[in-house]
């Protein structure tokens, strides 16, 4: 049958299994929005296109599906760039549809024209501009395939207005799904035998997992593997939830604000098995001192990530799930047993480090932000979906909330985008309406996409926002305190709005806690209140995130606090 481009777009999305998109209308996408009016595809109207991109991202991270957003041309498209770059840095599968001026006007500096494919070329996995309606259905298929295959990433599809109005024949067809990892990544048995040999020889082994294990859906295989080899596990910020945080073998997060014991274990280890992590500078500290006594095995789906920052001894380019599954099979076939004596000695050493410097903070008259996180963890039984903003709020959330499941901690790790958490929480809540979703924010970050209060109220999306309000851009203030003689240059933002009244102005519930004994009742009330809630916690203004690896230093060189 003959269909208009706009109709083909919606049909193609439905064919891909998309049931919800986030977006904001405009002139170039009028035809698409006219088609959306028929209601076959659920659409969440945000209040800023950046939020549409972050919401698609949060939706993808929480659900494991590809997130989708739709915006208009020109400024609508450019407003998504931060969200696209955020997804790009963390390898999140989203497809961003941008309107575009009619093909005849492209390149003429038309009204609301932007060369968005040019602008996003370096921060998308790939992008397309559909110049003929005949290419539309195929392009949508390709976009979804590219977004979720191999190392996932954001894909942009630019849609000129005349193409949306043009007609062509449309036939339904199934989406192009990436092949199953088992068929696409044939395990290199020789390399895997080498892995087993190295494990047998190691006296002080450590496993380091990153976001790749979560994207690879390999948590079960990982847990199986760890149970067989009894090796302690540390995770990067992006790897939180890949391995249960409450497991006795979990060392917590490593890196700039990682735990003392994780950083010491990695520094001292003689074998580092890295799975789905990319040796980011926040993790490694001074590179030539990172795991310098260890042989390093690097299992990663992206060949370009291997030997990019850190030279490794055994690179394995493969997907984590099938590799771990194969390793587990081989461990069973070989009747692998852990060398009990050595393992005990190593774990005892790690216990000593844990005793020497557990994660801690001192209490006082002011509310301590770490206490807020711990109480939140307790009240939600560690089962909430947590998103964060960026800075101290993000680090305290990573340290003091323990995550036992993947896809439950949503944070902008690579780009570090303030304003990510609130719209990402919206995306996660829409994906998983029965879960408790909490955004942990700072007073600076929450203001970057505060307009989304309208979105959560409009659709009654019951996201809870915990604002750790210290009146500062906390992380920058901490650096200014430690390295710039406490010259708080432009980080004091005490002229913050009254968040309670602001939430109420939008029609949401606002709660406030000013003293430590108000924390638990406020959190309890907020979590129990149906609908979106803002909770404003007045926290100690000069609290710091510790441990902290000094900039340029090896990760064994940490400040443990004031």
């Amino acid at each position: 049958m003959k269909l208009k481009g706009a109709q083909i777009l919606i049909r193609s999305l439905l064919d891909e299994g998309v049931d919800t998109i986030f977006g904001y209308p405009g002139g170039a996408v009028l035809d698409i929005y006219d088609e959306l009016h028929k209601g076959k595809l659920k659409h969440i109207l945000v209040r800023h296109e950046q939020a549409a991109a972050h919401a698609a991202d949060g939706y993808a991270r929480a659900s494991g599906k590809v997130g989708v957003c739709l915006v208009t041309s020109g400024p609508g498209a450019t407003n998504t760039v931060t969200g696209i770059a955020t997804a790009y840095m963390d390898s999140i599968p989203i497809v961003v549809f941008t309107g575009q001026v009619p093909t005849a006007f492209i390149g003429s500096d038309a009204f609301q024209e932007a060369d968005i494919t040019g602008i996003t070329r370096p921060c998308t996995k790939h992008n397309f501009i559909v110049r003929k309606v005949e290419d539309l259905a195929r392009t949508v298929k390709d976009a979804f395939y590219i977004a979720e295959s191999g190392r996932p990433g954001p894909v942009l599809v630019d849609l000129p207005k005349d193409v949306m109005q043009a007609e062509t024949e449309y036939t339904e067809s199934a989406p192009l799904k990436p092949g199953s990892p088992d068929t696409m990544y044939v395990p290199d048995v020789e390399a895997l035998n080498h892995v087993l040999d190295m494990i047998k020889e190691a006296k002080k082994p450590v496993i380091m997992v990153g976001g790749g294990v979560i994207l690879g859906r390999a948590s079960d295989e990982l847990r199986d593997f760890v149970n067989k080899v009894r090796i302690p596990v540390t995770h990067t910020l992006m790897g939180i939830g890949a391995f249960p945080g409450t497991d006795p073998l979990s060392l917590g997060m490593l890196g700039m604000h990682g735990t003392y014991y994780a950083n010491m274990a990695v520094t001292d280890c003689d074998l580092l098995i890295t799975i789905g992590a990319r040796f980011d500078d926040r993790v490694t500290g001074k590179i030539d001192a990172f795991a310098s006594n260890a042989k390093i095995i690097h299992i990663d789906i992206d060949a370009a990530s291997i030997n990019k920052n850190v030279l490794v001894d055994l690179p394995i380019v493969s997907d984590s799930k099938s590799t771990l599954r194969q390793l587990n099979k081989m461990l069973e076939q070989n009747h692998f047993t852990t060398p009990e004596k050595e393992r005990k000695a190593w774990l005892d050493q790690i216990d000593d480090w844990k005793e020497f410097a557990p994660l801690s903070y001192s209490t006082g008259e002011n509310i301590k932000p770490q206490y807020v996180i711990e109480t939140l963890y307790k009240l939600t039984k560690g089962e909430a979906i947590i998103t964060t903003e960026v800075g101290q709020n993000q680090m305290w959330a990573a340290q003091f909330y323990k995550f036992n499941h993947p896809n439950t901690f949503l944070t902008s790790g690579g780009l570090g985008t303030m304003g990510y958490g609130f719209p990402a929480a919206i995306g996660a809540q829409v994906a998983l309406p029965d879960k408790t979703v909490v955004d942990i924010a700072g007073d600076g970050s929450i203001q970057m996409n505060i307009q989304e209060l309208a979105t959560v109220v409009n659709y009654n999306i019951p996201v809870k926002v915990v604002i750790l309000n210290n009146g500062f851009l906390g992380m920058v203030r901490q650096w200014q305190e430690l390295f710039y003689g406490k010259r708080y240059s432009h980080t004091n933002i005490s002229q913050v709005p009254d968040f309670v009244r602001l939430a109420e102005a939008y029609g949401a519930v606002g709660l406030r806690a000013m003293k430590p004994d108000e924390v638990e009742p406020t959190l309890k009330k907020g979590l129990d209140t149906p609908g979106p809630v803002f909770m404003d916690f007045a926290v100690d203004p000069e609290e710091g995130v510790y441990p902290m690896v000094n900039p340029g230093a090896p990760i064994s060189d940490m400040s443990l606090g004031k």
């Binding site: 070329r121 370096p122 996995k125 190392r151 992206d302 060949a303 370009a304 030997n307 990019k308």
Partner: protein, 151 residues
């Protein structure tokens, strides 16, 4: 030289160039043209770097959707050639020297006027370099080099 076989799409060259600029690698020369299959383009990029850098560049280029094949070649099987067009000033003093050089270096005269000529030189990169070095003191007014063409 990095050789790429890519889909002939309008922005593929921009993408490839973007990898070089975005990651801080240097493009010293570039040629691009369709192959015997009009849907497939071959791009040759002249770049220098140690083997670790070159491996990094190749790995990043391989990730591009439109790139089918990437290889680093020092010497190609059937040879590499470059071309240069050189404009030489002709005076009473240098005319004989110039004519001799053109003959010795096997160049082709494209245009000859009374006060200048334009010649074409083809050869390996070293041969081109040698020719340019030779012509410069003889009154080279302008020159244009192509990139590397390789089989």
């Amino acid at each position: 030289m990095i050789k790429l076989i890519v889909d002939n799409k309008p922005d593929v060259l921009a993408r490839v160039a973007g990898i070089f600029s975005g990651r801080g690698f240097n493009i010293e020369s570039v040629t691009a043209n369709i192959t015997m299959d009009p849907n497939i383009t071959k791009i040759n990029i002249g770049t220098t770097g140690d083997s670790a850098t070159v491996t990094k560049i190749q790995n990043q280029l391989k990730k591009l959707v439109d790139v089918r094949q990437v290889s680093y070649v020092r010497e190609t099987k059937f040879g590499q050639r470059e071309m240069a067009l050189i404009r030489l000033k002709l005076t009473e003093k240098n005319k004989n020297k110039v004519e001799k050089a053109i003959e010795d270096l096997n160049c082709r005269v494209i245009t000859r006027k009374s006060d200048y000529c334009v010649i074409e030189a083809t050869g390996t990169e070293e041969e081109i370099e040698r020719a340019l070095k030779h012509f410069e003191p003889l009154g080279m007014e302008d020159m244009s080099r192509s990139g590397i063409v390789a089989l």
